[in-house]
């Protein structure tokens, strides 16, 4: 054996492997089984969560296998590529044969229908020639245009329809390739990120999910207003933002978006995803002295210390948090700050906006309460760019159309045998289909029954 032969043998073997339906079944099974993993093990959580749940050894193994982001892991992507290659080679392997069948001229041989589905034989008055002409008209809609073959006095009518439906399965395969290509295009040239814009402000930078990377937009987006409304049950009814697209100081587009109605501009889409209270620039506080019973109002900015009268110390508001968790309970919008009392250790205070007397619980010499502050929302926008989405949509369309053709249409062949009989003609219907034999059996039975009804009593029909 020389080298060339070995190579040829290898190529043939590989071709054989990749064009086999066995491989498709194996890959589909692997995809189905491995997909389960990601629905049981939460994806893209923090390492600490996994450590706690599975222990360090299991964590290392899972991490090595990319189990925590398995749908984007190399081995899962490899399975999908394998499916794509398998589809392409399978189709190249089988398509010429199918095209040959589609291009073939109709076979006009009664022998081909020897093993076809067969209806009951009916007797119809009239010579075979006349009856055949009548039947050709009668069944044209159900069976297609007939070719008549004469055999002595008898006639054979042949018709075919739906040859092209043999292509249906390739439409489905093409659609899967389109979906894979669209997905690939999206993951290469698209992104998924978010933007938080405070009411009245503009932003033009998208922060990507899962990293701190940012993408600048070539325009900026202003949020004029955000509003959330509730049903009388307390369930949220609608989140909406009034957005304006700006470029170089001029307004290009404005749109009010809600959850199912995003803003799309230059291939980038903005979806209503979340909202929250924006950190105020300044907050007014009230300091109640336990000793004197006096209340002292004071205005303060985040990070700047406020000196409390009566020599009670200083208070520095540090952060504004939207949903602060205090001993496991969400206490809503909260200002966090540090109180340094004379001669005491600094303590961190949590001052929820909703609960005025919250700080009294601490039992200190001074009770700090959050008063007025400028109440502004920010809108949380999901920002995506996906140039592959149109390929995916085309794939969806092909997929549905292809499935319909494959499952509910078939290549059907019909033969009507009209033989000479003592009372006129003996008529038998035959049908063949590449799929759905039971359906063909029903078609032949129904057509035979219908024909029988319509031809049984010619006298009565004449009376009518």
């Amino acid at each position: 054996m020389n080298k060339k032969q070995v190579e040829k043998g290898l190529v043939d073997t590989l071709w054989g492997v990749f064009s086999s339906v066995r491989l498709s079944v194996i890959v589909l099974t692997l995809l189905a089984v491995t997909s389960i993993i990601g629905t049981v093990i939460p994806q893209n959580a923090a390492p600490a969560v996994y450590m706690e749940r599975y222990g360090e050894a299991a964590y290392r193994v899972f991490h090595f296998l990319d189990i925590f982001d398995m749908y984007h892991s190399w081995w899962f992507q490899l399975l999908m590529i394998l499916l794509g290659v398998n589809l392409v080679i399978c189709s190249i392997d089988r398509l010429p044969g199918v095209l040959k069948i589609i291009g073939k001229t109709q076979r006009l041989n009664p022998e081909n229908y020897r093993r076809a589905l067969k209806g009951d034989t009916l007797t119809i008055a009239g010579a075979p020639g006349t009856v055949a002409d009548d039947l050709a008209q009668r069944f044209k809609g159900a069976m297609g245009t007939f070719t008549v073959v004469e055999e002595g006095e008898g006639r054979f009518l042949f018709a075919e329809k739906g040859r092209w439906t043999r292509m249906g399965v390739y439409v489905v395969h093409a659609s899967v390739l389109l979906l894979l290509a669209g997905g690939l295009l999206g993951s290469l040239f698209g992104y998924e990120g978010y933007m938080n814009i405070t009411e009245g402000e503009s932003a033009s930078v998208v922060t990507l999910r899962g990293s701190d990377a940012t993408v600048p937009l070539d325009f900026s987006l202003r949020c004029d207003d955000f509003d959330v409304s509730f049903y009388d049950t307390g369930a949220p009814k609608e989140y909406r933002s009034d957005l304006v697209v700006e470029e170089g100081g001029s307004e290009l587009l404005s749109k009010r978006i809600v959850v199912n109605d995003p803003l799309r501009f230059r291939g980038v889409s903005f979806y209503q995803a979340s909202y929250g209270m924006a950190a105020p620039e300044s907050v007014s506080f009230s300091f109640a002295s336990k000793a004197s019973g006096m209340h002292y109002p004071a205005e303060g900015k985040l990070g700047e210390p406020i000196v409390i009268p009566e020599g009670l110390g200083t208070f520095t508001p540090m952060h504004f948090v939207n949903n602060y968790r205090f001993r496991g309970h969400d206490i809503g919008a909260t200002v966090l700050g540090i109180l340094e009392e004379k001669g005491g250790e600094p303590v961190q205070l949590a001052l929820p906006v909703k609960f005025a007397g919250f700080d009294r619980m601490r039992g200190g010499d001074v009770v700090v309460t959050v008063g007025e502050f400028e109440n502004r929302y920010y809108t949380g926008l999901q920002v995506t760019k996906d140039p592959g989405v149109w390929l995916v949509y085309a794939g969806f369309l092909f997929l549905i159309v292809g499935c319909y053709i494959t499952f509910f249409m078939s290549h059907q062949g019909f033969m009507v045998e009209v033989a000479q009989d003592k009372q006129g003609s003996a008529v038998t219907l035959y049908g063949n289909a590449n799929k759905n034999k039971l359906g063909m059996e029903m078609v032949i039975r129904r057509l035979t029954e219908k024909l029988e009804k319509e031809t049984r009593t010619p006298e009565r029909q004449v009376e009518k």
């Binding site: 629905t39 049903y231 199912n260 999901q382 997929l399």
Partner: protein, 279 residues
């Protein structure tokens, strides 16, 4: 008279129909099957009426949405589709055996909705994520798919009973439709289910893209629907290309339905975007 009451009554109508179908089978008589079919059709009409009434009730609550927004409402629609599909096949193929195995499923679905204390039958307003025209297209097609698979499951069980147990002349099993008819019907109902599951997944993906900006996020429900899709895709390939049939296909139709059930119910115990389906 409210929709919940009507649907509770329809539960018993389906139950009666199922009992009649089963007695027709056990006693080998046509009469109970005829009664069962009439009861089944009455059940379908009542089920549809309950569905429509609930729809109109939601308007009088001021919420106004098609009743396909939570587990209770989906079960009602599921029962309707199962009963409808089985009766259509029964009439088309002139064989009442299909409904003998499918009508109990419609009964169970509705009984679970009406009688289970864990399922809330209150009409609730739509959360913002569900306010979309895609809701109807997505849920209706998904459930037509599920119903097709449920019917295939029923026929698959019938096939295994017919082919794997000893057949006595004139006995219960001999009254089941012949194996080749069941075999063909499994394929037909799976193809029906597959087409609608495909449309359901596609409409869901298009909807997700218009609501969240991503047509596929590997959310557990999405993933399980894809797993289900894979199982039936494998089955159709084995059938068409490798000529599998009989017991093997019947077994896959049962495995496939397990995946459907997990997609429908099991996923509610996993976190994800479809968690509102659990109420």
């Amino acid at each position: 008279m409210n929709s919940s009451l009507i649907l509770s009554i329809i539960t018993f109508v389906y139950g009666f129909s199922a009992v009649m179908y089963i007695s027709a089978w056990i006693f080998g008589k046509e009469m109970p099957a005829k009664i069962a079919r009439v009861a089944g059709i009455a059940g379908i009409v009542g089920n549809l009426a309950g569905f429509l009434l609930r729809w109109s009730e939601s308007y009088s609550h001021g919420y106004g949405h098609i009743p396909l927004s939570n587990l209770y409402e989906s079960l009602i629609f599921f029962a309707l589709t199962i009963a409808l599909i089985s009766i259509v096949i029964e009439v088309r193929y002139r064989n009442y055996m299909i409904s003998t195995f499918a009508m109990p499923l419609a009964f169970i679905a509705l009984a679970y909705a009406s009688l289970s204390p864990g399922i809330n039958d209150k009409i609730q307003p739509l959360i913002p994520a569900l306010k979309s025209n895609w809701l109807t297209a997505h849920v209706v097609t998904c459930f037509l798919g599920y119903a097709g698979f449920a019917t295939a499951f029923g026929i698959g069980v019938m096939y295994l009973v017919r082919e794997c147990l000893p057949v006595k002349e004139g006995g219960l099993i001999s009254r089941l439709p012949e194996g080749y008819i069941l075999d063909e019907l499994i394929q037909k109902t799976v193809m029906f289910g597959f087409l609608f599951l495909t449309v359901g997944i596609v409409t869901g993906a298009v909807w997700a893209n218009s609501a969240w900006g991503s047509y596929w996020t590997w959310d557990p429900k999405e993933t399980w629907s894809l797993i289900t899709w894979f199982v039936y895709a494998i089955m159709l390939h084995l059938r068409y290309v490798r000529g599998w049939g009989g017991v093997k296909i019947a077994v896959i139709s049962i495995i496939g339905f397990m995946a459907v059930m997990f997609t429908y119910f099991g996923v509610n115990y996993l976190p994800g975007l479809h968690s509102y389906g659990s109420m």
